[in-house]
Amino acid sequence: MVAHTVTSFDEELAAIDRIIRDMGHFAAAMVDAATSALLEGEQEKARRVIADDAVMDARQRELDERAITLIAKRQPMADDLRTVVGAIRIASDLERIGDLAKNLGKRVSAVDRSTAPQTFTHSIETMAALVHQQLERVVDIYIARDAEALKPLRADDEKIDVQYTAVFRELLTYMMEDPRNITACTHLLFCAKNLERIGDHVTNIAENAYYVMTGTQLPANRPKVDETGTPSAVI
C-alpha cells in the first residue's frame, strides 16, 4: 500500500491496528485462562480473568476515541474509512468476548468440582481450544489483511457449533443420570454457551474484516449447525 501524503495519518491508522491486535491476543488469553480456571477449579486464576475485563473495556474506549478523532481530523475515504469503521466494530466484538470470558471466570466458584462430572472436562476443553484458535487466527488474518483466508475461517465456526451440540447432549445425559449433577451441569452449560457465543463474535469479526479489506460483504448465509434448539436434540 502506498503511504499517505500526510505521514501522521498512516501512524494514526497503524495505532488503531495495533490496539485491535493487542485486544485480540488479550481476549484470547482471557478465554484460555478462564477455561483452565474452570477445568482446574483455580479460583485465583478466575479472579484475574474477571479483573482483566476492565483492561479490555479501557482499550476499547481508547480505540473509540482514536477512531472518532481520526474521522474528525482526516475525513477518511474508501479503504481508510472502512478500516476505521471496521475497527470500531471489531473492537466492540472483542470487548464482548472479554465480557463472556469474565462470565466464564465468575462461574468457576459456582461449579463445585466434587460434583461436576470428571469426563466432561474433555469436551469443553476441545471446544475452548477451537474457540481460542479461531480468535487468534482472525486477529492475525486481519493484521495481515488476507481477505481470502477469512472464508475458511468463517466456515470453521461450524466446528464450534458441532462441538457445542455435543456438549449440550452430553450434559443432558449427566443430568438425567443423577439429579445431583443438575446445578454444576447447568453452570457448565452456560459456560459452553458462552464459548459458542465467542465463536459467533469471531465470525462477526471475520465478516467485518472481510468488508474492511474488500469493500464487499461475505454472503449472508453461512453454515449453521447448532441443533440444540431443535426437537431432535432432546434425547
Binding site: M1, V2, A3, H4, T5, V6, F9, R74, Q75, P76, M77, A78, D79, D80, L81, R82, T214, G215, T216
Partner: protein, 294 residues
C-alpha cells in the same frame, strides 16, 4: 471527426501532426479503459460524450474521454490539478473555443444533438448549458440587471413585468431573493462572496438552462456560504442536470450522485458517488481519494 473553433483552425492545421507524437501521450497506456459502474437504477442520459480529446497547441490535455451525464442529478468531476477535469467541463459548453490553440476532437451530444455542429449558435448553446465559475464574477451592474441581462439578450421576456418576474423567480431559485429584495437596484459587486456566487447562479438560471456547469463554485467561499451553495445545488438537482468540478472530496461526496475521477487527462473511473467514496474499483481512484497522491 475534428471540430475546430473557426479562429483557431489555421493554427491547428500546423500543430495537429506534432500533437500525435507528443511525449505525454506516448507515456500513457494506449489501451486504457475507463472503469465504469452503472447506477443501480439507470437515469436518463442528458449529455453524451464519446472519445473526447483536447489539445492545447501541441500538448494533449485530455485523452479519449467518454461519459454519459444523467439528467436531474449532480455529476462531480474530481482529480488532482491539471488532470483535465476543468478542460472537459469547458468542452461541454464550448468554452474551449475561446482559448487560442485549443482543439477538441470526439463527439459531445446534448439530447442527441451534436454540440460541435458548425451550424450551432454558440451563444444560444451557452444559454442552454450555463456555467458558474470559481470566483464569483457578477457584472458591474445592479443586482437586477445582472439577472435580467441574459433573458433580455435572448428575448425571453415579452414585457417589463415578464422580465421582473423572471428576475424574482431566478433569485428565489438561487435562495438569494430574501436577502436582496430591498436592494435590487444596488450593485451586485457590493454583495458578500457567497451572495455574489448565488447571484451568478441566479444569472445562469434566468435563461432557463438545461444543464448547469460549475467549476469549483465554492472554493472562494467560507464554510457557511459553501453550505448554502451546496443546499442550493441539492434543490436545483430536481430540475437541472448539474456537473460540478471540485477539489473538495467531501463536497463531491455530499452533493453528487455520480462521480468521475480524472488523472493525467484520462477518465480513470466513474460510478455512483457512494461507491466511489467507500469502495472504488480502481486503485488510482482509491489512492487519490484517500490522500495517497495528488
Amino acid at each position: 471527426m475534428m471540430f475546430n473553433a473557426p479562429e483557431t483552425q489555421k493554427m491547428n492545421a500546423t500543430l495537429a501532426p506534432a500533437s500525435s507524437s507528443n511525449q505525454s501521450s506516448a507515456a500513457l497506456p494506449k489501451t486504457f479503459q475507463t472503469v465504469r459502474t452503472p447506477d443501480p437504477e439507470p437515469r436518463k442520459v442528458r449529455v453524451h460524450a464519446q472519445d473526447v480529446s483536447v489539445f492545447y497547441g501541441p500538448k494533449q490535455a485530455l485523452f479519449d474521454v467518454s461519459i454519459d451525464i444523467p439528467e436531474k442529478a449532480v455529476t462531480a468531476f474530481i482529480g488532482p490539478s491539471g488532470c483535465g477535469k476543468s478542460t472537459f467541463l469547458r468542452c461541454l459548453n464550448r468554452m474551449n473555443d475561446t482559448i487560442e490553440g485549443a482543439r477538441v476532437s470526439g463527439t459531445i451530444q446534448l439530447d442527441g444533438e451534436d454540440l460541435y455542429d458548425p451550424k450551432l449558435d454558440v451563444v444560444e448553446l451557452r444559454a442552454r448549458i450555463g456555467m458558474v465559475f470559481q470566483k464569483p464574477n457578477p457584472f458591474p451592474k445592479t443586482i437586477f440587471e445582472n439577472v435580467a441581462y441574459g433573458p433580455r439578450i435572448h428575448g425571453l421576456a415579452k414585457s417589463k413585468t415578464d422580465l421582473e418576474q423572471i428576475v424574482v423567480e431566478s433569485l428565489q431559485k438561487a435562495s438569494l431573493f430574501n436577502e436582496v429584495k430591498d436592494r435590487l437596484h444596488e450593485v451586485g459587486t457590493g454583495l458578500s462572496g457567497g451572495q455574489q456566487q448565488r447571484l451568478c447562479i441566479a444569472r445562469a438560471i434566468a435563461v432557463s438552462p438545461e444543464v448547469i456547469l460549475m467549476d469549483e463554485p465554492c472554493s472562494a467561499l467560507d464554510p457557511i456560504a459553501t453550505a448554502k451553495i451546496e443546499e442550493l445545488i441539492d434543490e436545483l438537482r430536481a430540475n437541472y442536470t448539474i456537473v460540478i468540478v471540485t477539489h473538495s472530496m467531501q463536497q463531491a461526496a455530499r452533493v453528487s450522485q455520480r462521480t468521475a475521477f480524472f488523472h493525467l487527462g484520462i477518465l480513470v473511473e466513474e460510478g455512483p458517488t457512494e461507491m466511489m467514496f467507500t469502495s472504488p474499483a480502481e486503485k488510482r481512484t482509491q489512492d487519490y481519494i484517500t490522500g495517497r497522491f495528488g
